[in-house]
Symmetry: C2
Subunit: 509 residues, 2 copies
């Protein structure tokens, strides 16, 4: 029987070593980690078992629990041990029992009640559920509290200054010099905005898809084209979870070129991070092909921007889209999209653009630092604060954190013997923001047992969508969550697998 | 020189008689009102002048300010006077000066610093500005605070229960048995949703308009119809601010019928409460005409539902629309619309419906108590709370309050000698939620002087839109504001008129 792969998180300090009420200096964290590990050795309670997860061998032993014993076992001075025990006591992580010399034990608070903590970045007060779905993600208290601000005049200077700051910060995150707008609507609203502004009956369109969201572009497109009359939509569909093959894309572009009298009116759509299957698609390569054919490249980056490296201009994305409730760590309800000169050429020719998301109206209004129609003010307040959080963390760190969390999930679940769903090729990669995992149906574990069991433990993960329902589940690692939330999720998963006798039945590993 | 028309608010108690820290029983309010009026007589300060507005004659006199003097003047017992003076002192409405026997004076707090108060319904902490524009309206703290709730799974039971409650409550407010959905987008999003779901190239459409928002339906419609090929749009336009004439509507419907091979594919659009001009259009009468011609009647009730009587089914509105940030008193970003069987007939025939606001997708999702795409969760939390506020107040009371506030504005401004903008006929009426007033340009007062002056006094009112810019200004009385906010607005207006020497120049009255 294979147990969890050890050390999938290379964290330096015990999660409970962090103090809520005091500054956490390196030395103190180190000392408290040693104390907590020492206590865990002697406290084979459920709480301690959960708190120190990779210490099976430690639990075998038992030591005295006095300060003296602790200081000796942890190789620390008596006074330092006492000092840090008292700090941990104040935080209700440990308590003393009996009479002098007191015996010290862990209370069980900490790893088990992360909900109660708010240490700043990443550790959110989750209420009763930890949302590990690919949006909406948990939102930091400071971002939620930004929404309590009273309404302001949406045509006034205060809104204008805020909107401008949001737009400029998003441009930095997008790494784009193109125009950029924020829409009061979800990511799907922005996807439709792209198509509904670009596409008229005559537009040639190549929709590349290897999952639900890639196909969505095609679904939207047929609403904007009288296909019966001019069948100019080309769907380049791959099996969900499989990789996009560049040869097929190339072929579709060339065929659609040769049969076309006006090769300039052409659009290529793709999803960068296919949330339904946990695969990262080859944006750069497809961007090159699109440019070669002078096509407008529409790239759905709804679940990549803010969590992964997405240099929009370098990728050649003429329209790039992000959603607020994914890697940006803001609440749902807003989306943003960037528009290149190349895209404007097509948009300006289209007289039957959408109205609510008419991008020309957005462009005109942005000159006055306004939106054409009343913006969803509280969501703008929240996005503004979410962007402040991103600036404080720094995009490099943020991308590292996202990649680290996704890798931790992949390492852990493959360590459990589970299989990742995506079938990679030389140009695709695993998503750095959502991991799609096969449900071990062969081991007799159902979707309901797996996700239902995790839900009972307070962790919500996503199931497979449509044809993948019951076959996969998905763990998102997006936004401002940290290793703590990831660990809680993996702990819940491991417990559920054990409860359902996964290891007993699993003969393959 | 004519001064403000007296008693435009028939309020029983002095605004400052309300205590923040204690319960306000009728008797106490009465006693404190008498005390404050007595004090105002003897305190000809700016603060008192503002606090007691209709007491010109009182200010002429002066009395002693001791408790004894107050109790005699107010015809109250000494002990009762002392008790209530101390309550007012705690609230910093009055203070004592000198030595015993103290002299009591008003501090100026109260009417002048409503911002600081939060007495519950209607009196909001406004921050620095009082928003008296027709949306976004000031939002009660309890509604804003609802948005700090952590994110929930948007496909889970908790969201489902909340969404269902929102939908059912809105149906009651709409007085409709039709289907009803909440869209994550503004009122314009819902207007486009109506047209973009109903209208195909072949649809005959009659757009009735007497203002900016009525015309908006026509603007949206041309995006959905190849008019060059099939010119089937009929715009029945009246001058902005003028009333809709039923004869013209009748004629348009009959003409478009006779020339049409399929009279069933017909739509009539109108705005119920034309926010751009402050006029209430004849919904019932036009509804009857639409029914007679078997047309689908789309009624924009964005600024009427929640503040005025709008029995959707009785009016014959097949699609009725409301916005969250108007009379509902919620933040901007959501809209709701109801859809009748008659409307469904047309929608189901239309294969090129919008995608993000595809009403058939909304209908399917509602069966699972979900929305088709990720809902703007915090705005749903807020709307849910806003509906609780409406239930607590009761729709009858709410409509009365809205009508009372609008009437107070009309009475006051006509009392100032200003002219209301709408030109009524026998089937139109003044709006009960927004009052459009002509800027007294003939008296040398400009838009900037008037609205800019009010803005300097912390009150934001709306200007005229497009062709009406500089000609009118608009005071909205929507949502959870009360007479206090209306009085502050009218006070600011009166001061600005005086400052700009309006009364001196005004020779007509």
């Amino acid at each position: 029987m294979k147990r969890r792969k050890e050390g999938y998180f290379d964290f330096e300090h015990h999660p409970n070593a962090y103090l809520e009420r005091k500054r956490n200096v390196e030395q103190g964290l180190h000392a408290r980690t040693k104390i907590l590990e020492t206590l865990a050795m002697s406290t084979p309670t459920e709480a301690a078992t959960a708190a120190v997860s990779n210490s099976d061998e430690m639990r075998e032993n038992g030591t005295e629990l006095t300060i003296k014993a602790i200081s000796e076992s942890a190789a620390m001075s008596y006074s330092s041990s006492f000092h840090h025990l008292r700090l941990l006591e104040e935080e209700k992580i440990v308590k003393r029992e009996g009479k002098r010399p007191y015996k010290w034990v862990v209370t069980g608070k900490g790893q088990r009640s992360l909900d109660e903590l708010d240490l700043g970045l990443g550790v959110t007060k989750m209420g009763k559920e930890l949302l590990m779905i690919p949006g909406p993600v948990p939102v930091l208290p400071r971002i939620r509290e930004a929404m309590t601000k009273p309404m302001i005049f949406h045509r006034g200077d205060e809104f204008g200054a805020m909107y401008e700051e949001i737009v400029e910060t998003l441009k930095e995150i997008f790494q784009t010099r193109n125009d950029l707008f924020v829409l009061s609507g979800s990511g799907t609203c922005a996807m439709e905005a792209a198509i509904g502004n670009l596409v008229s009956n005559e537009t040639k369109m190549v929709c590349i898809a290897n999952g639900k969201f890639g196909e969505r572009f095609g679904e939207i497109a047929v609403r904007y084209k009288a296909d019966a009359v001019t069948p100019v939509n080309v769907n380049v569909n791959f099996e969900w979870g499989h990789s996009i093959e560049l040869e097929a894309v190339k072929e579709a572009l060339e065929n659609s070129s040769s049969s076309s009298s006006d090769p300039k009116s052409k659009i290529v759509t793709m999803v960068h991070n296919e949330t339904s299957t946990g695969i990262l698609n080859p944006a750069k390569e497809v961007g090159k092909l699109a440019r070669k054919h002078d096509a407008v490249f529409v790239l759905d980056c709804i679940t990549s921007i803010g969590g992964d490296k997405v240099p929009v201009d370098e990728l050649g994305a003429d329209i790039a889209i992000v959603g607020s409730q994914k890697c940006m760590g803001a609440p749902p309800g807003l989306s943003a999209l960037s528009v290149s000169e190349h895209a404007w050429d097509l948009i300006c020719e289209n007289e039957r653009r959408l109205y609510y998301t008419d991008l020309i109206a957005y462009k005109k209004s942005l000159e006055k630092k306004q939106t054409p129609y009343t913006p969803a003010l509280p969501l703008f307040f929240a996005l503004h604060e979410a962007l402040a959080v991103i600036r404080e963390e720094g995009m490099e760190n943020r991308i590292e954190r996202h990649r680290g969390m996704a890798k931790a999930v992949r390492d852990a679940v493959t360590g459990f013997g589970l299989r990742l769903f995506p079938k990679l090729n030389e140009v695709s990669d695993y998503s750095n923001t959502v991991t799609a995992i096969e449900i071990p149906v062969a081991n007799g574990i159902t979707d309901e047992q797996l996700r239902g069991g995790m839900r009972k433990r307070g962790v919500i993960v996503a199931g497979g969508q449509e044809k993948l329902k019951g076959e996969i589940f998905r763990i998102a690692t997006m936004g401002n969550i940290t290793e703590r939330e990831v660990m809680r999720t993996l702990d819940a998963l491991e417990v559920v697998l054990e409860e359902n006798n996964y290891y007993g039945k699993n003969s393959k590993i």
